[in-house]
């Protein structure tokens, strides 16, 4: 029972009360290894949850795409492959810098950690910026469903949108099908929106990690949080790797 008072001090009190443990070991774990294992495992299970979460969206997407294939093709022609590819590249690079950040934390290199975290942060912002540009374009063209007067003009009469027409020479869709492009854009916004939400959460966490990393929090051998965040970041990246072909490259296989 005397044990309980000692434990009450908790991890925050530093290494003094229990000299045999590192300060970052939580009291209810027996060893640092167990703590690392447990939190890492938890992160994987959380990602499994996330897979199921996006799974519902992907299922809806596949059914709708199967039904309204033409609308989805012409809807996707409205997206800029250039921006999409740029964003894919940005995310893949950011995954690399994130992996480097984890490595730096493991190697206890504070400077490198801060550098790579910073780079990842910038790339994340860049991704969101590009996404914002793309969304803005949709807004201008009245392709945001539900609000802002959705316009089917570009699908009923593709020539009215010369830039896209020049590239794809789409045939006009029948009015019924043209209406279904709204379904495509609904899913486009739902999926990229949900993904962007995950990016925003990720970027916020990066700021938090960056601030804590400056005090050396992750370069003292306790890099679990950075590593788990890395898993999250890669996961969000992978989701995009699926979104990109599904949304941008429908007619190109």
């Amino acid at each position: 029972m005397s044990d309980s008072t000692a434990i009450a001090q908790g991890a925050s009190a530093g290494a003094a009360p229990h000299g045999e443990h590192p300060s970052y070991q939580r009291h209810h774990f027996e060893t640092v290894g167990q703590q690392f294992d447990a939190t890492n495992f938890a992160m994987w299970i959380f990602l499994l949850t996330e897979v199921m979460f996006f799974g519902g969206l992907f299922t809806s997407y596949l059914i709708m795409r199967n039904w309204y294939y033409r609308a989805f093709v012409e809807g996707s022609h409205q997206l800029s492959i250039l921006w999409g590819t740029a964003n894919t590249t940005v995310l893949i690079i950011s995954s690399f810098t994130m992996a480097m950040a984890v490595w730096s934390a493991q190697m206890r290199r504070k400077g490198a950690l801060l550098l790579f975290l910073g780079l990842t942060f910038l790339l994340g912002i860049a991704f969101l910026g590009i996404k914002g540009i793309e969304w803005h374009e949709k807004w201008v063209k009245h392709h945001v469903p539900g609000i802002h007067q959705y316009s089917e003009q570009a699908f009923l009469n593709p020539a009215s949108d010369p830039e896209v027409f020049k590239e794809y020479h789409d045939k006009p869709l029948s009015p019924g099908m043209a209406q279904k492009t709204e379904e495509y854009f609904f899913l486009y916004f739902a999926m990229t929106g949900m993904h962007a939400l995950h990016m925003v959460i990720g970027v916020c966490l990066l700021v938090y990690i960056f601030i804590r990393a400056r005090t050396g929090a992750y370069t003292n051998g306790h890099f679990t949080f950075v590593e788990n965040f890395g898993l999250y970041w890669h996961f969000v990246d992978i989701i995009w790797i699926f979104l990109y072909p599904l949304l941008y490259l429908i007619s190109r296989y």
Binding site: L173, S174, P175, G176, M177
Partner: protein, 358 residues
């Protein structure tokens, strides 16, 4: 004791005379359903009795007073196998039996007479082929299979006739069907069993099963003058469907004579059987159901025809077996002005479509 309040007394009498424990069996499938039902009741009773017997007898035999020291037993593979295999076997029997019943209820016989049902918040609209319209009531003859083609025009509903043991969901945008053959004349409950909003519990009606002669009489007494197919014909003309779907060699749409029940290969390469559901889709979403050789010019009729109208058109097309009838409609319709290919014969423009009969 003898002083029961008269109100309470009346209440009790009313209760006891107006009290049921089992629904009437009024269709051909009802006794079959009940056989399976009672088989499962039997299984359940046996299963439950076994469990209760075990619990009670063990509780008595191995009560702490009588049996102060427990004997540790690990388990028994034999027993585990027993209570895995026996329930599994029984469940599989119910599965097969149930599946046979399910297929019977949802596979209508070819000679069934078709009645159309539209569900909406909060009523049932019934369309007989003879043109009789009913609301919240369904009259059917006994001894004759009746197939219901059901759709909802707003939310999910469910068409349930407990006395016939049949039920089918009315789904927006999609036909479902169910059939039954009433056996006992009488009036039975018709319920909407899928929650559909405020007046869900008022979406009820009655099903009247009648002897064939009575039914014939009822049909004659309730006719609106036009059969459903005639309504469809009128609609076919007034929507100018016949401007394109006609037997002329230069027509812009496929001729629809004898189309019902045929097999079509669409422009998309898909092969379909022309049934009620296909016709509905082809009318509401024509661009996805283009016949090869024709341009996809047909506009959608989504939102322009009520579900009853679609039913009427389907019924019309079902019975469309000669070009003669389309010719008749052509003679009485003003065709669109931009229809430069074919002259618009008989410009009796003001003639009301209602008069289009032979």
């Amino acid at each position: 004791m003898s002083h029961i309040s008269p109100v309470l007394w009346q209440f009790l009498v009313k209760w006891l005379t107006n009290f049921s424990l089992f629904p009437p069996e009024a269709s051909k499938v009802a006794p079959q359903m009940d056989a399976l039902y009672f088989f499962m009741v039997l299984i359940s009773l046996v299963g439950l009795t076994v469990v209760i017997l075990l619990i009670v007898s063990f509780s008595v035999l191995y009560n702490k007073k009588r049996h102060p020291v427990a004997v540790q037993i690990e388990g028994s593979t034999l027993l585990e196998a027993t209570w895995t295999i026996i329930p599994l076997g029984l469940f599989l029997i119910t599965f097969v039996w149930g599946a046979l019943l399910y297929f019977r209820i949802y596979t209508p016989p070819a000679n069934a007479m078709n009645i159309y049902v539209v569900g909406k918040q909060w009523m049932w609209k019934i369309e007989h082929p003879g043109g009789q319209h009913e609301i919240d009531a369904l009259h059917v003859p006994i001894g004759r299979p009746v197939q219901l083609t059901i759709i909802s025009q707003d939310v999910f509903h469910s068409f349930s006739i407990p006395a016939f043991r049949v039920k089918r969901e009315a789904i927006p945008g999609r036909y479902t069907s169910v059939w039954f053959e009433a056996t006992v004349p009488g009036t039975y409950h018709l319920f909407c069993t899928q929650y559909c909003g405020t007046n869900h519990s008022q979406m009820i009606g009655e099903v009247v099963a009648m002897k064939p002669d009575d039914f014939r009489q009822w049909l004659q007494g309730s006719t609106s003058g036009n059969s459903l197919a005639q309504d469809g014909e009128r609609l076919f003309a007034s929507l100018s469907c016949n401007a394109c779907h006609n037997p002329r060699p230069d027509s812009r749409g496929p001729n629809l004579v004898g189309i019902y029940g045929s097999h079509l290969t669409l422009a998309s390469g898909e092969t379909v059987t022309v049934d009620d559901a296909f016709l509905r889709q082809a009318i509401l979403n024509p661009s996805e159901h283009v016949t090869p050789g024709y341009a996809p010019i047909m506009p959608t009729y989504q939102g322009q025809i009520s579900e009853e109208g679609v039913f009427a058109l389907v019924e019309y097309l079902k019975h469309l077996d000669s070009d003669y009838r389309i010719q008749q409609t052509l003679n009485t319709t003003v065709l669109p002005a931009d229809n430069e290919g074919s002259p618009a014969p008989g410009a009796k423009g003001s003639k009301a479509p209602g008069e289009v009969k032979q």
